[in-house]
């Protein structure tokens, strides 16, 4: 149904001049895939326009086209009523279009001001003029960014605001955010949405992609649904429910995940005692962390990103030399063992940064299936890589986890973010792990795939899988965990029962606000 995208039924339709962006008939093909096909979108000035759709629907591709990263094969782009052709991000910026990618691109060892000015020295110089401009932007949109802070000291939410500031500094009037909320906890999401509302009040247009439909409904003025590369509808959030949105995305009804009875057993599978990761200066990254997970149990770890979750996971995987304390899996002491031995002993590992730790982006999918399973069948037999068996097993993952791809021989880079994630989850769930270390297992996957991954984890749990679940998504934590621990500044500061806890309670424990049990144990 490639009909023209409907304009929301606002009284007194604006003149075309009020459109910040107008996309018509955009098409883009990759080998074996049509990423975009006849996309039509109108973005009004002073609005937040959300783009939703399944993994691989073509959202990121479309945004990259609008930001000049990739040229479209067909179609026209109009910005501010003027038809443009964008062949590089520099040209897009010159037209007032800026983009914040999901993977931030900031230099850690520079200050905020230096990061913002980097590459845009011509605009306001690099001295007082630049600083004044940064402060002015920060104040006028309520970003609360300190120009002198070092980027490495900032949390995820603050880094994102720096990225937005960077884009504004370059004069953007249209701002694209690709899955900005995937890495944020609810409080940070609220702050971000506050910032976005300020932007729109100033007449800017914000385009943003998200898989979290409730968020989309709460913040967006218009929502465009993309399905298999085509815009299928533009809807008004006030008259739409998350369910209806999901059905538009998938083209059919969604399966409803259900809560299950507890499968927790008596048998301790993972026993972590006094785990500490000191730093040469200052407070340790992990401070005397002690917990147990039983067979058939899911332990959720809640916390704002950067409070030690990544270090905890890496210490358990043997990737953090210098940690002290004991880690036992199934009665076997893991101290002194390598990452490979830990993986061989049955630990599956879904890393939080799929590009950095999870994939060989330029290698084909079947080689990525082998990765992390190099010593086990079906990937390897007698020291030789078994390409045939690995390819067959990759195909199995593709089918089971609905990874949208032309086949097991395409490079991982050619998959959309969510499909890469599905492949990693499928890989780590294969070989019947006894313990799954899952950091944000459904980050970036669409609602349908999220439910499917949860189901897979529940099935495995029923058969005795123990899971350490780290997630920024509180609904995921509450829905999947048997128990939730809150981590703050490297320490476990409180335990909650997911059947009774509310997201608000968790949220205040995570930020250290309210009646925290944190202080008492000090």
């Amino acid at each position: 149904m490639p009909e023209k995208a409907k304009k929301p039924e606002q009284p007194g339709a604006e003149p075309v001049g009020d459109l910040a962006v107008r996309l018509r008939g955009i098409g883009k093909r990759f080998p074996g895939v049509i990423a975009n096909d006849d996309i039509n979108i109108d973005v009004r000035r002073g609005t937040i326009h959300a783009i939703v759709g399944e993994n691989g629907a073509g959202k990121s591709t479309l945004m990259k086209i609008l930001y000049g990263v990739q040229p479209p094969d067909s179609g026209t782009i109009e910005i501010g009523g003027k038809q443009v052709s964008l062949s590089s991000p520099a040209e897009a910026i010159a037209q007032g279009v800026g983009m914040v990618f999901q993977h931030f691109m900031l230099a850690d060892n520079l200050t905020v001001a230096e990061n913002v000015v980097l590459g845009a020295e011509k605009l306001h110089g690099i001295g007082a003029g630049a600083r004044a401009e940064i402060t002015r932007i920060s104040d006028s949109y309520g970003l609360g960014v300190d120009p002198d802070a070092m980027v490495e000291d900032l949390g995820v939410g603050a880094r994102q605001r720096v990225e937005i500031l960077k884009v504004l500094y370059r004069g953007a009037r249209v701002i694209i955010l690709d899955e900005p909320t995937a890495v944020l906890v609810p409080q940070e999401v609220d702050e971000l949405f506050g910032n976005l509302r300020e932007l729109k009040a100033e007449g800017l247009a914000v385009l943003f992609i998200s898989h979290k439909l409730d968020e989309v409904l709460s913040v967006a003025d218009d929502i465009t649904v993309v399905r298999r590369g085509t815009t299928v509808a533009t809807v008004d959030p006030s008259g739409t429910t998350a369910r209806q949105l999901a059905e538009l995305m998938v083209g059919s009804e969604l399966p409803q995940p259900t809560r299950e009875a507890s499968t927790v057993t008596e048998e301790v599978l993972l026993d972590v005692r006094g785990l500490t990761l000191p730093t040469p200066t200052g407070r340790p990254l992990l401070d005397d962390v002690t917990f147990r997970i039983h067979r058939g149990e899911v332990l959720g770890i809640a916390g704002v990103e950067g409070n030690g979750q990544a270090e905890l996971v890496e210490a358990i995987m043997g990737m953090r030399p210098g940690s002290t304390g004991s880690i036992t899996v199934g009665g076997r002491d893991l101290s002194g063992t390598s990452t490979r031995e830990r993986r061989e002993s049955g630990i599956g590992y879904i890393p939080e940064d799929r590009h950095r730790h999870g994939l060989l982006l330029d290698a084909p999918l079947w080689e990525n299936r082998v990765l992390g399973h190099q010593t086990r069948r079906p990937s390897v037999r007698r020291g030789l890589v078994d390409r045939r068996a690995a390819t067959a097993d990759t195909q199995r993952i593709i089918n089971t986890y609905d990874v949208r791809t032309p086949g097991p021989n395409v490079p991982a880079r050619a998959l959309s973010g969510g499909n890469q994630q599905k492949l990693i989850v499928g890989r780590e769930m294969s070989g019947e792990p006894t313990l799954l270390i899952a950091a944000h297992p459904t980050r970036g996957v669409d609602v349908g795939a999220q439910a499917a991954i949860w189901d897979q984890i529940r099935i495995a749990r029923r058969e005795g899988l123990a899971v350490l679940l780290i997630s920024a998504d509180l609904d995921e934590l509450i829905g999947l965990s048997d128990r939730i621990e809150v981590v703050l500044r490297g320490r476990l500061v409180g335990e909650f029962d997911p059947t009774t806890v509310t997201p608000a309670q968790l949220g205040s424990a995570m930020t250290g606000a309210g009646d925290e049990p944190a202080q008492e144990s000090a």
Partner: protein, 375 residues
């Protein structure tokens, strides 16, 4: 073009890139000749004239040596390690092998085998130093291997003085010659007497096969390539990047140790101050040219050997220095990088058009049913 079988298209593309690169390199060399006022036509007709049997033998022999050097460098490249030190490694190795074999502790063939093993060991140790420094101290292997090249030069010169025998009435110092029975016989070529291809060519072919097999088929090779593609992802998958760094440098050094062997066992029989140098640097260019592919490296080695051999008579015939081919060799390394990229882009554009055409016909026959069926 879109109507061609995609397999043929792929083959044409694969051949297209090197041809394009060579053409560009020849053009640039011609330009240099023109600017210098040299006879362009005569230079090329000399270089490109069909080689005689004697020249063919020389080309194959030189290519054998260059091939080993190229493979040694390529092993490092596959793991993102730049082993600039093949030059020093093969010289240390050749010296050690010559010194040991000259002593003739073992009889006949055993002595020869010992020499080869000593060479591999010496090369591996020399490269392993850089590997160790990189793995434990984070020292860039580029820097350390360059330094080790310098050290190799002095160490070998010093040791040569200690061990060397001096031929009567000559300034050339060299190790004691390897006894007759421990030399590697050549393979006769053509009908002229004394024209032989190094017997070591067989080893070079085996090395090429082994390189392909180990890297592409074994778990070790997988780990090596994975580390080269992304060290953090390799670490998370359970690979010890440090251990791989050391192992790769040892392997690269061991193959580098073989570079001098065809010469030592097949023609010079001793390591002296005139032993051929600079083979390690040619290996870097050849590995780049051959894109780290075992067959590609072989073609690159043959090309370099061909240019070297065919340019020899330039001085006498047309009065141009044979060094002109060094320009061609250098430029081809640059043009090959560019032309592969150009061809790759062209290829993906072709592929896209092909996919689009295929999908268009598919769509015409009603894909909508299929889309709904997926749900």
């Amino acid at each position: 073009m879109t109507s061609l079988d995609p397999r043929i298209v792929r083959l044409l593309l694969a051949v297209g890139a090197p041809v394009l690169a060579l053409g560009a390199a020849f053009a640039i060399t011609s330009l240099v000749l023109l600017v210098a006022g040299d006879p362009v036509g005569e230079v090329w007709s000399t270089i490109l004239s069909p080689p005689e049997t004697r020249n063919v033998v020389n080309i194959i022999n030189a290519a054998t040596v260059l091939y080993l050097s190229g493979v040694a460098v390529a092993i490092g490249f596959r793991m993102n390690l730049f082993n600039i030190g093949v030059d020093g490694q093969y010289r240390v190795a050749a010296f050690a092998a010559a010194a040991v074999a000259g002593e003739a502790w073992l009889p006949g063939v055993l002595n020869m085998v010992l020499a080869v093993l000593v060479a591999m060991l010496a090369g591996a140790i020399w490269a392993g130093i850089a590997g160790l420094l990189r793995a434990t101290r984070g020292v860039s292997e580029v820097i350390s291997t360059i330094m080790l090249n310098f050290i190799a030069t002095s160490v070998v010169a010093f040791m040569l003085r200690q061990l060397a025998v001096r031929e009567e009435g000559s300034n050339i110092v060299s190790t004691r010659p390897i006894p007759e029975g421990s030399r590697l016989p050549g393979i006769p070529f053509g009908d002229l007497p004394n024209l032989e291809i190094y017997g070591f060519v067989v080893v070079a072919v085996a090395v090429g096969f082994g390189y392909w097999f180990v890297l592409n088929k074994t778990r070790f090779g997988f780990d090596l390539r994975a580390t080269g593609r992304s060290a953090p992802a390799a670490t998370a998958s359970g690979i010890s990047v440090r251990r791989m760094t050391i192992a790769t440098m040892l392997l690269s050094g061991a193959i580098a140790g073989l570079v001098g062997m065809p010469l030592l066992l097949g023609s010079s029989y001793a390591y002296g101050s005139t032993f051929q140098s600079g083979l390690g640097f040619a290996g870097i260019a050849i590995a780049l040219l051959g894109r780290n592919h075992p067959v590609g490296i072989a073609l690159g080695a043959l090309l370099f050997a061909f240019l070297d051999e065919q340019s020899n008579p330039l001085q006498i015939l047309v009065g141009v220095s044979p060094d002109i081919v060094a320009i061609t060799q250098g430029v081809v390394v640059l043009t090959v990088v560019i032309s592969y990229e150009v061809v790759r882009r062209f290829g993906s554009r072709l592929e896209q058009r092909r996919v689009a055409a295929a999908l268009a016909t598919e769509r015409a026959s009603g894909t909508d049913d299929k889309q709904e069926a997926r749900a």
